[in-house]
Symmetry: C2
C-alpha cells in the first residue's frame, strides 16, 4: 500500500467546518487505497493569539517556553481532526511531534530535525489508522519541546514523507499551486504544472510564499516529490520535482516579488579585512536574514556597505548594527524601508542569453529605477521602489511572455 | 532546603495580571529559602472552550484525543507563568506532565497516577529554578497523554509533594479555606484552622467543592499535610492534616450541602441475589457516581430500589438503567431531579451521642421533609427538597452551634 503524507495549513483547518472538510479529503485518500498520514498546522490565527498572550507576560519571552507554548496550537488541531474522523467511524489517531518520533536539536524557535523514528506511525498505519501528526514541533534528547520555526509544518511533512518512504508529500494550502506571478497582481498569471526544487526555492526565498523553503530544500536533498495544491478544490496543483528535462531548462518559470524590503547603509566604513564579518555575524546570530550585499568602490580606504533585509527586521537590525558601526569607526547607519524586490526565476538563467538585459529594459521602459541587483544561477533580482512593485511584476510577466504556455 | 509544592487553580491564573500575581507569590516562597514547585491549572474557562471545540467536530469525542486536547490548556499556563518569572530575571522552567515524570494508567479522562519519577524536577530544583508543572495530566507507558479527570491538578500537586518529599502541599484557590458551612448561605460560618483528611473527604464528596477528593485521599494515605488558602490574599488558610487529638474528636466540624441531587427509583424489582449489581455495575463502568442506595422492604419478593446521583448524570443514568430494568423484569424507572442534600460532618459522629436526632429535630423544626438518610462514620446526610437546602444549612449550622469557636 502506498504511503501518502498530506499537510494542511492554518487556513485549511481554521474552523470546525474546514476541519470536517479536511477529514473528508483524508478519507477519500484512504479509500483510494493509500496509507494516509496528515500533518496539520494550528487553526487560523491561533499561533498569533498565543504569541499575544506571551507578550502580555513578558517583553522577551524565553525561547524554550515559547516553543512549549506554541506547540499546543498544532496539538489542538490534530486532536480535533482525529475526533472528526472517529466520529464518522473512521480509524484515526493523533500524535504530537514527540509521539511521532520527530527528534530535533535544541535550537529553540528554529530547531532542525536530526532524526525521525517512525516506529509508532508505522504501527498505527498497520492498524489501518489515518495518522494525524501535529506539525511544526519536535523534541530534543533531553525531552524538551522545540518548534521548527514559522511554517515549519511543511518541513515536518516532507521529513515524515522521507522517513516513511512515502510516494510523495502533498502540501494543501489556500492557493491552487505555484504561478508564473502573483495572480492578484498579474491576472494573466499561469499555474505551473511542475517546477524543479531549485526554482521553487528561489521563488520561495524571494517572496512567493507558497511553502516553507526549508521544506523544499529537504525535498531536494532526498528527491521527494512535493505537490502544492488547494485544500478547497480538487484542481491539479503544482508538482515540485527533481529537475526538468533538457528541453524545459533554460526557460523563465516565473516572476517573484516581495514588497517589504529595507536597505541599510553603513556609511564611511574603513576598508579592512574582517569588517564585513564583524557586521554580519551579530545579525546572523540574531536570526536576521541578510539578502543582497553591495560594497562601494573604496576611496582612501573608506567605503559604504549596503545590504537589504525584510522591512520588519529594520528596528532589530539598527539596534544591533549601530554599536558595531561605532566600534569599527564607521560614520553612520541609515535605513530605507520603502523598497521592494522583483525577481525573474528560471533554470539556467546565468548561462542563458540576455535574461538580465531583457529584465533591465522592461523595467526602464516603465521608468522604474533599480537600486540594487543580485543574481544566482537561476534568479535575477532587482531592488526597486516599493510602490512600483506591482507595475514591475506585470511588465516582467509580459516581457518574458509568461502568459503563453 | 525545604521543598514546597504550591497549586494554583484556573481562577488564580485567569489572565496575565493574575499570572503575574502568582509569579510574585512564587518568588516570595523561594526567597523564604524554599525549593519551589508550582502546579497550575488551565487559565479560567480555557478547558470549557476546548470542550466546546471538540463538541463542534464530534458528538462523542474520542477519550484519548480529548485528553491530548485538554492537556494543552495547562501547558499554556505553565509556559506563560515561567515566562513571567524569567522576564523578571528569576530562574524558572515549565514541565509538561510527561516531562515532570507523571506516569499514569491508560484510563483516558480519569487516569490514575501509577508512578512519579521526579528526576528532572530534582535536577531543575538543584539548578536553583522554580519548577512550574502543567497539572491534571500524565503519560502512559505507550507515551499517550492522559488526564486525571476534572480538578486533577490537585491530585498532581499532592502526588508531586509526596514524590518529592515536600514538607507540605499548598492548594491556592479562590476561597480562603474550609468553612463550617458555605459563607454565601450562612454569614456566621467560620473558617476552620484545621480539619482531618477524613472529615475533609466527606466535605468534598458531599459538595463543599474546595478541592478534589482524590487529592485528599492521596494526602491521607501518605500523610501529606495540605494547606488550602486563597491566592488573592495572605490570610491563613485551612490545614488538612493527619487526625486531631482526642479532645478535638467527637465534634461537628461543619455543614456541607449540594443542591444538585437526583433520585432514581426502579419500581417493582424482583428481590433476587445479584439484582443490585446488575443495576449498579453498568453505572460504575459509565463513571456515574451513585450516592445513597435504599431498598424498600420486599413484599411478595418484589421491592423498589432507590438511589441518588448528581442531577447532571440523570439523562445518562436513565439511558443506561432503562434496558437493564426491563431485562430484570422491573416495572418502571422514575427520576426526580428537584432534590438536594445537607450533611453534618464530624469525626466520631456514629459513636457520638445524639447527633442524628439533633439533626432530624432541627430539620423538622423548619418543616423540612427528609426523603432519604445515609450515614458514614463521620457524616450524616439527609436528602431534602432542593429549594429548602439553604434554609436547612442555616438551621443545622445554628443547631450545632458552629458560629462559636
Amino acid at each position: 500500500m502506498a504511503i501518502i503524507v498530506q499537510k494542511y495549513g492554518g487556513s485549511s483547518v481554521a474552523d470546525a467546518e474546514k476541519i470536517q472538510n479536511v477529514a473528508d479529503r483524508l478519507v477519500r485518500a484512504k479509500e483510494q487505497g493509500n496509507s494516509v498520514v496528515a500533518v496539520v498546522s494550528a487553526m487560523g490565527k491561533t499561533t498569533d493569539g498565543l504569541i499575544e498572550l506571551a507578550n502580555q507576560v513578558s517583553t522577551r519571552p524565553n525561547r524554550r517556553e515559547m516553543d512549549s507554548l506554541l506547540s499546543t496550537g498544532e496539538i489542538v488541531t490534530a486532536t480535533l481532526l482525529t475526533m472528526a474522523l472517529r466520529s464518522a467511524r473512521h480509524r484515526a489517531i493523533s500524535l504530537t511531534g514527540a509521539q511521532a518520533g520527530i527528534k530535533t536539536d535544541a535550537s529553540f524557535n528554529r530547531a532542525r530535525i536530526t532524526d525521525i523514528s517512525p516506529k509508532r506511525i508505522n504501527e498505527e498505519l498497520e492498524r489501518g489508522r489515518i495518522v494525524i501528526v501535529a506539525g511544526f514541533q519536535g523534541i530534543t534528547e533531553a525531552m524538551d519541546v522545540t518548534t521548527l520555526g514559522r511554517g515549519g509544518s511543511d518541513t515536518t511533512a516532507v521529513g515524515l514523507a522521507i522517513a516513511l518512504g512515502a510516494d510523495r508529500c502533498e502540501i494543501y494550502t489556500d492557493v491552487e499551486g505555484v504561478y508564473t506571478a502573483d495572480p492578484r497582481i498579474v491576472p494573466e498569471a499561469r499555474k505551473l504544472e511542475g517546477i524543479d526544487y531549485e526554482e521553487m526555492l528561489e521563488s520561495a526565498s524571494v517572496g512567493a510564499k507558497v511553502m516553507h523553503s526549508r521544506a523544499v530544500e529537504l525535498g531536494w536533498v532526498y528527491n521527494m516529490p512535493i505537490l502544492v495544491a488547494s485544500s478547497f478544490s480538487d484542481n491539479a496543483g503544482t508538482l515540485i520535482h527533481g529537475g526538468a528535462s533538457m528541453e524545459i531548462r533554460n526557460k523563465v518559470s516565473g516572476i517573484a516579488h516581495d514588497p517589504n524590503i529595507a536597505k541599510i547603509t553603513v556609511v564611511g566604513v574603513p576598508d579592512q579585512p574582517g569588517i564585513a564579518s564583524s557586521i554580519f555575524e551579530p545579525l546572523a546570530n540574531a536570526g536576521v536574514s541578510v539578502d543582497s550585499i553591495v560594497q562601494n568602490a573604496s576611496v582612501n580606504r573608506i567605503t559604504d556597505l549596503t545590504f537589504t533585509i525584510a522591512s520588519n527586521d529594520v528596528d532589530n537590525t539598527m539596534q544591533i548594527i549601530k554599536p558595531v558601526a561605532e566600534s569599527i569607526g564607521a560614520k553612520e547607519c541609515v535605513s530605507d524601508s520603502t523598497l521592494g524586490k522583483v525577481s525573474v526565476i528560471g533554470a539556467g538563467m546565468q548561462t542563458g542569453p540576455g535574461y538580465a538585459s531583457r529584465m533591465f529594459r522592461a523595467l526602464s521602459d516603465e521608468e522604474i529605477n533599480v537600486e540594487l541587483i543580485s543574481t544566482s544561477e537561476i534568479r535575477i533580482t532587482c531592488i526597486i521602489d516599493e510602490e512600483k512593485v506591482p507595475q514591475a511584476v506585470r511588465a516582467l510577466h509580459k516581457a518574458f511572455e509568461l502568459e503563453a504556455e
